[in-house]
């Protein structure tokens, strides 16, 4: 978000709520009457970042839409752990069709609502990185180009987690996955690959594109709320750690996500019609290593001995992001 609600003399306001803050300044998540769009009883792993991110985003969307929300979900972790017959954890109108068509199905829902004159209903599409960046890219691009009235939210845990942690189009350099194993002379994923779907979205010149992280709830809610109020194609890319696939501790999920942001590896920014308009300034910059160290999928960079070359390469990715998006001084170069 571009500004801080925090008045100088208040403490603890990075928290979800704060009894001293005006209720309207507290996160949606702090409300005892929040919609809990993704309710208890789902089968996500302990500490799942996606489950958290989904509840954050959809609760914010439900509130912003006044309860008039329909969600379309791609196949993936989120869909599988939330709707195994006979149990569904969703408390909103929700649909799952296929792996690669969430954007198109959502476009159909939006068209149907428009045709039926139900202009107050807002439509979101949800998918993981696999369903968005790879198999779903065609439908996503079509939805963008048509400027369908859909907010697409991608939960990026950087691999096909549901099928056993295989590499996807957003898997970062050097990461170990089942299909980029940490063996051979160059263990883990190859450098120089990995799509930036937010940048692809920006190239379509759609009204709103943003990145967000489970580590920064206020920022995520702000962006979802802003997006819901806009009509046309919108895209939000949320970074969500997967303890199982990343090899991090379940209780570290938010810490890991925070380090991704604070190191510059996952920049938080907003863009409108293809131009970056806002970025979140890094609060306390961390070296990329601090982020990598917490995840076993990067363990081969440290043991049996440190891979200085690749660690430096990852640091330079972080540095480049900081410079490019102006994450430290506010002005991008």
């Amino acid at each position: 978000m571009p500004f801080e609600h925090i008045k100088f003399y208040q403490t603890g306001t990075f928290t979800v709520g704060n009894r001293l803050l005006d209720v309207s300044d507290r996160a949606v998540q702090s409300d005892a009457r929040r919609s809990n769009a993704l309710n208890c009883g789902h089968r996500a792993c302990q500490g799942c970042g996606e489950a958290l991110g989904a509840r954050y985003a959809v609760d914010a969307a439900v509130r912003a839409a006044g309860g008039n929300l329909v969600a379309v979900n791609a196949t993936g972790c989120l869909e599988v752990f939330s709707t195994p017959y006979p149990e569904t954890s969703w408390q909103v109108a929700w649909m799952h069709s296929l792996f690669g068509n969430a954007a198109a199905v959502a476009a159909g829902v939006a068209a149907a609502m428009k045709a039926q004159g139900r202009n107050e209903v807002r439509v979101i599409a949800q998918g993981g990185d696999g369903g968005t960046a790879d198999i779903g890219l065609g439908c996503l691009s079509g939805m963008f180009e048509r400027n369908d009235d859909v907010l697409y939210i991608c939960y990026d845990n950087e691999a096909y987690m549901n099928t056993g942690v295989q590499r996807s189009g957003t898997t970062p350099a050097a990461a170990r996955t089942a299909t980029t194993p940490s063996v051979g002379s160059k263990p883990g994923n190859v450098f120089g690959q990995g799509k930036s779907v937010p940048l692809i979205a920006m190239a379509h010149m759609i009204p709103y594109v943003a990145t967000a992280s489970v580590a920064n709830l206020h920022d995520l809610e702000y962006k979802v709320e802003k997006a819901i109020a806009i009509h046309g194609a919108r895209y939000i890319h949320v970074h969500v750690p997967c303890p199982l696939g990343w090899g991090s501790e379940p209780h570290d999920t938010i810490k890991v996500a925070r380090l991704a942001v604070e190191s510059g590896l996952f920049p938080l920014f907003e863009a409108e019609f293809g131009e970056v308009t806002e970025r979140s300034i890094i609060r306390r910059k961390q070296p990329a290593e601090e982020y990598l160290k917490l995840q076993k999928r990067f363990a081969h960079l440290f043991r049996p001995k440190r891979d200085e070359e690749r660690l430096a390469a990852i640091q330079s990715i972080a540095d480049r992001n900081i410079q490019r998006f102006g994450l430290q001084n506010g002005a991008s170069s």
């Binding site: 329909v70 709707t83 969703w90 296929l98 068209a111 149907a112 045709a115």
Partner: protein
């Protein structure tokens, strides 16, 4: 209202009268004229309250229809051939979820080799997907079937394919009685979904179902098609009452009384078959034909009854079960299991090759004398076949087969009579 009108255009005007709310379009020959016409009708305002989306692939097209239908809108799209295959995942998804989408298939061959002309291989590839498949014999029937399709689909919550022979019907200018808006409005009720995405009454659609319940779900889909077998003739009857035309139904017999030999086929080729039957009947040959309209659900009982007095059946089909024989023929044989009919499979018209009356007459004569093989390829050029086989035997790298054959034929155009 009677019009001299292109088949595709008539279909488009009729579909528009059914008041669809979401139409999605991706171009593929030979259905493009349908969606283009619909697009014009939407843009001009003639078809109001409808959203028309130009999608990025057929997979996207059916996906949009899935979303729209689930959200309570009457939805429509059209495709053919490669496009139908490209949306295959969505085809199964739509029927699995029970969404009453109506889709026109402009029947066209499937490549490789790429071929834009008519045969039934595309619809056949999806015959077990759980969609209802209705074949139109004429452009008039194509128009009428679309109206019946929406009602059938929405009553049963089952998607329906209306199969219309590409070019032969879609691009033909015919004299067609295009219904009037008030007639359609009076006959086709509003769409009342059995499940819908509604923020005021939320549900989760599309759960993952494991071994403990999957078979039951599939049985229910099977059961739906069995119920369709009853509704289809009823709807056809109800259609007749309002519009005054025989249209649709499970199958249509032609001169079956006393017929020893009965020819069975799907779609427009029945016109030519009926002409051949008339000629042979004039020569005193006891022959008749059946045009099957509802291919899925396959009317096993109706077929068995219609063929009960025949001695032999000639199935003329525009589809090939590679290595095996026929597809329609296999279903006919299932209907006749336990009976002593002789069934001859005739593969004809693949890739748009014309099925001439002359060829049919020759064929039926052979059939009558039981001088046919079990599986026959009508009008096959044995010279080309043998030369190609020889080429392939002689050299390992004999080059692409299709190209060699074309060269051999010196690119003779398809015969059209």
């Amino acid at each position: 209202m009677w019009k001299q009108i292109e088949g595709s255009r008539a279909i488009a005007e009729t579909v528009a009268m059914c008041r669809p709310q979401v139409i999605c379009a991706y171009p593929i020959t030979p259905q493009t004229h349908i969606v283009e016409a619909l697009g014009e009708l939407v843009k001009s305002g003639q078809l109001a309250g409808c959203e028309f989306l130009n999608v990025e692939s057929e997979f996207g097209a059916l996906s949009v229809a899935i979303g729209a239908s689930a959200a309570g809108a009457r939805s429509y799209t059209a495709t053919a051939s490669q496009g139908l295959l490209f949306m295959a995942e969505a085809v199964y998804n739509a029927s699995g979820l029970g969404l009453p989408i109506v889709m026109t298939i402009g029947n066209r061959a499937i490549g490789a080799p790429i071929n834009i002309w008519n045969d039934h291989s595309d619809s056949m590839s999806m015959r077990d997907s759980g969609w209802i498949q209705l074949f139109a014999e004429t452009n008039q029937e194509a128009v009428d079937l679309h109206i019946q399709a929406f009602r059938l689909a929405e009553e049963l919550s089952c998607p329906v394919m209306v199969c219309v022979d590409g070019f032969i019907l879609t691009h033909a200018y015919d004299r067609i009685d295009v219904p009037l808006q008030h007639q359609v409005d009076g006959w086709l009720p509003r769409f009342e979904p059995t499940q819908v995405l509604d923020p005021d009454a939320p549900v989760s659609i599309g759960a993952m179902v494991g071994p403990e319940a999957f078979t039951e779900v599939r049985y229910l889909a099977h059961n739906k098609q069995l119920r369709a077998l009853e509704r289809i003739p009823e709807i056809s009857g109800e259609f007749y009452e309002t519009f005054g035309r025989e249209s649709g139904g499970l199958l249509r017999p032609y001169r079956l009384d006393g017929a020893e030999t009965v020819v069975v086929a799907l779609g427009s080729v029945n016109g030519t078959i009926q002409e051949a039957v008339d000629e042979l009947r004039q020569d005193g040959i006891a022959i008749g034909s059946i045009s099957i309209c509802s291919y899925r659900p396959f009317p096993l009982d109706a077929v068995r009854r219609a063929l009960s007095d025949a001695r032999r059946v000639v199935v003329v089909e525009k589809s090939l079960a590679v290595g095996l024989g026929g597809m329609l023929a296999t279903d006919i044989q299932m209907a006749l299991s336990g009976r002593r009919h002789k069934v001859y499979t005739v593969i004809a018209g693949l890739g748009g090759r014309a099925i001439t009356k002359a060829s049919l007459l020759k064929l039926f004569h052979q059939a009558k004398s039981d001088a046919l093989e079990g599986v026959t390829f009508l009008d096959l050029n044995w010279g080309v076949i043998n030369r190609q086989l020889a080429r392939e035997t002689a050299t390992r790298r004999s080059g692409p087969a299709a190209e060699s054959i074309l060269k051999d034929l010196a690119t003779l155009p398809t015969k059209i009579v």
